[in-house]
Symmetry: C3
Subunit: 207 residues, 3 copies
């Protein structure tokens, strides 16, 4: 259990750090000033979990926990100082971001299960937790949310989250294994979809 | 009372179904992928009521009720499968959407009255319940919220909601009659305003 | 204490009035109809405080208080009637808006301290209270939030809020003095930055 908790903490940390850096880089690309960059990094990191906690009517996860704020602001400041490293960090960032997406989705589902909600609603909460940080970032920076445009993003959440719910309920596999497997599943779907430019079929529309 | 409850349930169902389909069609027009369409349909359907419940600090209405999710996702999937029927459904959709607007406005006002709030604040809550689903949909799809542009929308909410509050308080008319009348009033204002292209006077501005 | 309370109430009133008028003028510039103008004025005025109260899980400040609604809608209606006075009021408005920003930031921090939160998190809450009304206004009117573009805005909040926390904790100055001083500090930073077109250094990006 101890190891399990530490394991969760490590990956959640990586997820927070990486979402923060992704927000910071997106804001610097839009030429915001340093405080604007901090605000965007903060919202990208906590947005999804905050909406989840408001919906569940539980205390917002960062409001009593200063470590969370450090996990957001320190990487964002780091990103601003070492801005030139963006190119080299791009792949690392993408991996972190995908792990963050995976872990946050699973965390969201677990919080829903803890509140005795129906698995389907837990899946919705997991998707909200994983995706809404990025949606808010894109709205604030005035672009069409990436999630709705190019890459397979929500789809990865939903497939990985469904796998988590099914494996945790109908198999005897260890909980930690199911967690790791579904997180890696989300990361793998994201990575392959970006590498091979997979896209979900889209509807033909007249914009 | 039984009939009254069933009556509410039937129209609320039609409202959810129709907001979901309006979200789905708007998302397909913007060429989102199927999961993007589901997310937009979900947010359009529950957005207004979710903000209302958060403001009232009561449990979010869909979080313990799987039927609500079915009322959102099934019509959205239906809309995706039968996409070609869009043209024929346009009028039906518009009517459903207007009924949804009417019912949701009245539901919002009733929830406010149940919480012993001032009628004026109840009217605000009703307007939020009726309008914010569409506002969120338009923000996520990166267009100026329709509500702020063309048709008489919020105005219909506010007139119908005011009529509901006045008639329920100062007349002896049956509650169900007042409900039906004000819902039909909102639908009628919406329908006539679109048919005859009524617009509220606007302010001359330099955008 | 009595004087202190009254003092808070007077400046908060001025802040609400001024945010409402700033929202109304922004909406009229975008040619919204009168109800659209009211909705934007309402959201600009209460947006920041509402998000703060939701995060703190305390009752939303305007939901039981009709006076607050009057403080929002009456100035907005006034602004619509006397639209032609916009030019003469511009400076007055800017000053009110800056005072509003200052007071709202301090109010946000105080509410955080009352809830026994860490000063750093209180500063975050203060910034949210001061800035999010304007952010929501700009998102709804489909422009890049001004806060992220031109003027020194969040920066003024953060500097003034930090000064408030430091002076209130580490000095023996009277609480009212610290309040007045930090509000004036925020107003001064805003005013000078607009007058002399100060800008924070920005990151070079390729949009």
């Amino acid at each position: 259990m101890e190891i399990h908790q530490n394991f969760n903490f490590i990956i959640e940390t990586l997820g927070m750090v990486s979402f923060s850096m992704s927000g910071a880089f997106a804001a610097m690309q839009k030429r915001l000033d340093p405080f604007g960059v901090l605000i965007i990094a903060f919202i990208t990191s906590v947005g999804g979990g905050t909406i989840r906690d408001l919906l569940l009517d539980i205390p917002v996860f960062w409001i009593h926990d200063l470590r969370m704020c450090a996990l957001i602001f320190i990487p964002a400041i780091f990103a601003m100082i070492f801005k030139s490293i963006e190119r080299r960090f791009k792949v690392t960032l993408f991996i972190f971001d995908s792990f963050g997406l995976g872990l946050f989705t699973i965390v969201g589902i677990q919080k829903g299960l803890n509140a005795d909600l129906h698995p389907f609603i837990c899946l919705t909460l997991g998707t909200i937790t994983g995706c809404f940080g990025g949606i808010l970032r894109d709205i604030l920076l005035n672009r069409v949310p990436l999630i709705f445009r190019k890459e397979i993003y929500a789809t990865a959440c939903i497939i990985g989250g469904s796998a988590f719910l099914l494996l945790a309920k109908y198999t005897q596999l260890s909980y930690t294994f199911v967690q790791v497997f579904t997180i890696l599943l989300i990361v793998t779907i994201r990575t392959l979809s970006v590498k091979y430019q997979w896209q979900m079929p889209k509807f033909y529309g007249t914009e």
